[in-house]
Symmetry: C2
Subunit: 344 residues, 2 copies
């Protein structure tokens, strides 16, 4: 009656599932904790059927769940998988994260999500923090070059690079589309519509995705005899994508008649460009054809004017899980697809 816990004294049923440890289950099932552990972990035939049934019953009655901490400590590995995203404000990244979350879940793994804001320092901080959590793997969704990143590559930490390849080491595990081919496809898409006069708005060139997309675009237009002049590649240092697009369109409007096509290395850039072009109140015929990348899930609803290179959001989760299981190739290239949305 001293109020220590009151659990056994008071009228509470024995099924209080707060803090039930393996010991409680063992006691209830009249076996040792080792046996409980074996049953929980499904070790094939390490226990007799009756014992298994008894343990299962005890687990159900007590509502037992193995403590993640005890488990992690023992096997030096948790069930956590970290995703360090470059920018969670980008719906494309959150869509991929959501896909990863579902896939991990189905494997009994848990997602820990971080936002590096594309900054090396924050990325390093998260890399260390996540390793301290004994994460099973770290997924870099848009990695940036950083000191700890190279250190962890050297020590063989399990890393998976999504969308952007590992800065400085092309051989690291990678999941994403073939960005160079996507760039070529984008160019072909516009060329097929007779559009040969284009500009390209893009983010900073630290991203292999951006670099590859631009390379593909450049190649394809050159091969078609309509090379894109250097001054038609537009970016703004240190700005976010929406602003990059806005400023790119602003620049194009300032220097003369806008080109017939404007390729944006991400849909967010396209959103920004579109906004500026609308503000300019161009005549219906003078509006450049816009083409983005990623195909933001909201596009059909709010940007029906934006054609885009769709990346298969749903496929990322499975790919990440396969990569973590390590029986997968070190490189999973997903299929992209151009979505044609005619301008109004």
């Amino acid at each position: 009656m001293t109020g220590k816990t009151g659990l056994s004294r008071c009228g509470r049923p024995a099924t209080a599932d707060r803090g039930v440890s393996i010991r409680a289950v063992a006691a209830r099932a009249q076996v040792s904790i080792a046996t409980v552990s074996r049953v929980v972990n499904g070790l094939p035939n390490m226990a007799s059927p009756e014992t298994v049934a008894r343990v299962r019953a005890a687990i159900a009655e007590l509502g037992y769940r193995p403590s993640s901490a005890g488990r992690s400590l023992r096997q030096r590995e948790s069930r956590l998988v970290a995703v360090i995203a470059a920018n969670l404000a980008n719906p494309a990244m959150t869509a991929i994260s959501a896909s990863v979350e579902v896939a991990l879940r189905s494997r009994g793994l848990v997602l820990a999500l971080c936002d590096s804001h594309d900054q090396a320092e924050l990325q390093d901080e998260y890399l260390l923090e996540m390793r301290a959590h004994l994460v099973r793997a770290t997924v870099l969704l848009g990695a940036v070059a950083s000191p700890k990143l190279v250190a962890m590559i050297e020590t063989g930490e399990p890393l998976v690079f999504v969308n952007r390849r590992c800065p400085g080491d092309d051989d690291q595990p990678f999941i994403g589309i073939d960005n160079r081919q996507a760039g070529r496809d984008a160019a072909a898409f516009l060329l097929a519509k007779g559009i040969r006069d284009v500009a390209v708005a893009h983010g900073h060139l630290a991203s292999s995705a951006t670099i590859d997309r631009i390379a593909g675009i450049r190649e394809a237009f050159a091969e078609a005899g309509a090379p894109v002049p250097p001054e038609r590649f537009l970016t703004t240092q240190g700005a976010e994508h929406l602003e990059i697009g806005y400023r790119a369109a602003d620049h194009l409007l300032a220097v003369g008649r806008p080109p017939a096509g404007l390729i944006c290395a991400s849909d967010m850039i396209a959103f920004g460009a579109h906004r500026r072009l609308i503000e300019a109140g161009l005549a219906p015929g003078a509006m450049p054809r816009l083409l983005g990348f990623d195909d933001n899930p909201l596009n059909p609803w709010v940007a029906p004017w934006l054609s885009s290179v769709r990346i298969p959001y749903q496929a990322y989760g499975d790919a990440v899980v396969r990569m973590i299981d390590a029986d997968a190739p070190r490189r999973i290239i997903l299929a992209h697809q151009i979505v044609d949305r005619p301008p109004p």
Copy 2:
């Protein structure tokens, strides 16, 4: 030379930071592990300045980080905070999650993100899983009624409800805007523009946010002498918000001339409605004035036609952290604000 680890044998510097435990630091600093622990945790004057310096040096040289598993196991609490979101496809929820992530980070806490897809079973599964991880708190970003939820409330598990109040227990800690007042403000906004003929599209009424918003809208229009008839409240069971909006607009178009105003209980619903209205090719004057809730961060760029009740995304993170620290009131009401975006 048997290849066991090779760490000490081979020429590697002693700074291999893989698996440095507190013991290694203690050895290097020539103190006991207890002292290292005290220094790490900043116990005030439990060690002499020289000792502190020596330990600090050893920590830096070895790149030591306390193991999260060991720590969690010992103090029966991890540095994890779970956020169980109802729908990560909604940018409003990811924006709030991102804000929470930043705030947690500044307190040395880590975000574990889950997507319950608004399903009771998944929410229960996550609640259990997260407790097994000894999370410091669980944030329900759009909770749904579920068995384990009531069980965890009973056992006093630390829960924080965001946006939607706890189903069945209004006294649980809550963070969000005053949705009823927001509903009234929305109504006043349209009334001030002379719009008295409106419809309301909304999601399922399990969400206190939706219920409160609708209540506010209803009250304000009634008080203004322009009550909204019941058949003007539109929803679709089991559909996601985009589709709810699309179908609502479709219905309004089918039954006659659309109302002068269409209030949508979320911006996603407004996106869907707008799409249908555009498809209908209404004359410029016949387009209902749209008003949404949440003010999606992308609105200025892709939905400049959508006025909306803005919720203060950035403020959520701080509020959650304060709530977790428990020195906060059990209810934090954030300020909302109507953003007026005139139709084209």
